[in-house]
């Protein structure tokens, strides 16, 4: 393996550069893409290397720019459209849900839509209700879209390359706190969509996580390991297509499952996983599947409430303790992640 250490953000920019080198039809655009901050550094180097024809900013027109991406995609180009916040992408929902997801079907398969829409999700600090959503449940609800959520630098790199090469529209959701994580990236490793990753094997409880919740699950696993509990950690990675078999086999083995999703729970992706697991693991389950996600509220600004809004390692630990009928551990000596104390890797 020829691996280099790099951050998640560098994995994204490197993957983009490699795809733009490999195919002149690939271009990247969106508000702020070429400015000095380069979407938290994830489009760094592209303007210099490929010029303003293939890396450019746009008017503030998310709806039309998304339609432009679609028009370009059905004309043989392979656009990567970037939103610095998933919340801004909501201005383009008409194009995404009425046009992009439908066009292949409505044309009876005559058209294909090779298009990646990248969006930054999740928490900074105090980002409040309009800079904080994830929305994978919403996008994955729509037939015709694929939804990908990388966690590690390797996944950021490999899954973005796979997504650009896919002939279907892909919503690619990147948690802002993951951008700083460092890890090994093997540039030759291709990862297909629809493949979950077992991050750690364990026998007691399966924790199925998306995006940043994988980091929280890892912390929970470390804390619980000192008390003799072995979590099996699975990074779902691909919301659609879903690697159902890996999840099901794990829950059949452990008999217990927590879905730790980084989204609202009501009508959420966590409900989808819970339903599928109950259906297929009914006999093996020792207790009902538990779901963790955002509080059923808009995201508040103030830190104490924000901490309650987002699910964390503490929520996972407490849920495992209940499942296993353990006494709650004293967590006062533990250090959990926050904006000031972010996980930096390696994974």
């Amino acid at each position: 393996m020829n691996a280099k250490i790099m951050t998640f953000r560098d994995g994204l920019s490197l993957a983009t550069a490699h795809e733009m080198e490999a195919d002149p039809n690939v271009f990247i655009f969106g508000l702020d893409v070429p400015d000095h901050k380069r979407i938290f550094g994830s489009t760094r180097g592209l303007l210099e290397k490929f010029g303003p024809e293939r890396c450019f900013g746009t008017s503030l027109a998310e709806d039309a720019m998304t339609g432009v991406a679609l028009g370009a995609a059905i004309s043989g180009l392979r656009p990567i459209h970037v939103h610095i916040r998933v919340d801004f992408m909501l201005l383009a929902v008409n194009q995404i849900v009425n046009m992009i997801s439908n066009l292949r079907y409505m044309s009876g398969g005559q058209l294909s839509v090779p298009l990646v829409i990248r969006a930054v999700i999740g928490r900074g600090w105090g980002q409040s209700a309009q800079h904080s959503k994830s929305l994978q449940s919403f996008f994955a609800h729509i037939p015709g879209l694929k939804v990908v959520m990388p966690t590690t630098p390797q996944d950021a790199y490999s899954l973005l390359r796979t997504s650009v090469r896919d002939d279907n529209p892909i919503i690619f959701l990147e948690h802002r706190w993951l951008y700083d994580i460092e890890g090994e990236v093997d540039e030759s490793l291709a990862i297909p969509l629809g493949q979950a990753a077992v991050r750690k094997e364990g026998k007691d409880v399966t924790v199925l996580s998306t995006s940043w919740m994988n980091v929280e699950a890892l912390k929970a696993q470390e804390v619980l390991a000192t008390r003799g509990v072995n979590l099996e950690l699975i990074d779902v990675r691909s919301i659609y297509p879903l690697d159902e078999e890996t999840l099901i086999q794990s829950v059949k083995k452990t008999g217990r499952c927590i879905v730790a999703d980084y989204d609202w729970t009501y009508c959420g992706f966590s409900a989808e996983l819970a339903a599928r697991i109950h259906h297929r693991c009914f006999k093996e389950l020792k207790c009902p599947v538990e779901r963790l996600g955002f509080a059923p509220t808009p995201c508040p600004t103030t830190r104490p409430l924000e901490n309650l809004f987002y699910p964390s390692a503490v929520h996972i630990i407490r849920t495992v303790e209940k499942m296993l009928e353990m006494k709650p551990a004293d967590l006062s000596g533990e250090s959990f992640y926050s904006y000031e104390h972010k996980f930096k890797g390696p994974f």
Binding site: V68, A72, M99, L103, M106, N168
Partner: protein, 323 residues
């Protein structure tokens, strides 16, 4: 006429007018049987616009339309088997029955997509124009839309981007002064859409959408300017919608608009007016009748074929969602 169209071209355009009109008259005739289970937005009265504009466009142009797309589909593809296949929900339609009337497309003839959410097709066409510019091609993309579309944000966002990047996108506003049943004066805060659009530095054209010759001439001049100097074109054509917004009937009794007199209707009918032009310019009644007959047979045969064609198999429900 001769300085605009050769006789051969004019007969070809006449045959397209007839093809579109007779196809839609056939829908009106057959619709009550409830075999065509798809909402139809008939374009009777507006046929000259897509036919004339497409004639003025260079080969290789990519077109985008609305749900009132029958003429555009037939003008570009002349594929009546596919057209009626789609009306009848049969596998012989280009969308295998999944498109119906409202989402007809025929990419191999340049009709990329048509959409039934007002304004949504406009940025797609700009994207096709962007793809041309990206490849350093001077090809043109064209998008047809109604006067309601210019009230949508997507129109202004698209116009601004296209103007800023000097894309060769031809915006064609088919103006019947109605958004379903609501007249333009109840909806629009501007006096003239052209005055506003002109400020975005477009090649401008305005014509009588009921007059095929005028459409061709106006479109030709704007297309010529667009080829010489990159940038968007905006064509504005007035026309009269003969039928209800959706469905096979007239609806003058609904009270939201006046029925024109018979004499006025004659002038507003692009087929009748073009027929008169042809007869005044050396075409014979026999030549036209021959085209009429040929198209009638073609359409009847396609309807027959569509009736006989199979419905898509159950597996088709889940096919074509992804590649």
């Amino acid at each position: 006429m001769k300085d605009i169209l050769t006789k051969e071209e004019s007969l070809k355009l006449y045959s397209k007018l007839v093809l579109a009109r007779f196809s839609e008259e056939a829908i009106r005739r057959e619709y009550h049987k409830d075999e065509m289970k798809t909402p139809v937005h008939l374009g009777i009265g507006g046929e000259a616009i897509p036919i004339g504009v497409c004639h003025a466009l260079p080969k290789g142009s990519k077109a985008f339309g609305t749900y009132r797309n029958h003429t555009l589909y037939l003008a570009l593809s002349e594929d009546t088997d596919g057209f009626f296949g789609e009306m009848y929900g049969k596998v012989s339609g280009p969308g295998k029955g999944k498109a119906g009337s409202m989402h007809l497309s025929h990419p191999e003839s340049g009709l990329m997509a048509t959409s039934a959410v007002v304004g949504t097709n406009i940025p797609l066409a700009v994207g096709a124009a962007f793809a041309n510019a990206y490849r350093k091609s001077d090809d043109i993309a064209v998008v047809f839309f109604g006067d309601g579309s210019v009230e949508e944000g997507a129109f202004w966002e698209s116009l601004n981007f296209a103007s800023h990047r000097r894309l060769r996108i031809l915006f064609v506003c088919e103006d019947n002064q109605l958004a379903i049943h609501t007249p333009a004066k109840s909806r629009q805060g501007f006096k003239s859409i052209r005055d506003v659009v002109r400020a975005f530095n477009c090649h401008m054209g305005h014509g009588n959408g009921s007059d095929l010759l005028d459409v061709v001439q106006t479109a030709h001049s704007v297309v010529k300017n667009m080829r010489e100097e990159a940038g968007p074109g905006f064509l504005h054509f007035d026309y009269f919608r003969f039928l209800e917004h959706v469905g096979p009937r007239e609806d003058f009794d609904a009270g939201y608009r006046q029925k024109p007199t018979a004499e006025e209707l004659q002038k507003l009918d692009p087929l009748k007016s073009f027929e008169s032009v042809l007869l005044e310019n050396g075409c014979t009644r026999e030549e036209l009748t021959q085209i009429d007959e040929h198209m009638r047979i073609k359409i009847d045969q396609s309807i027959e074929n569509a009736r006989k064609a199979p419905f898509p198999s159950p597996e088709e429900l889940r096919a074509d969602v992804y590649t």
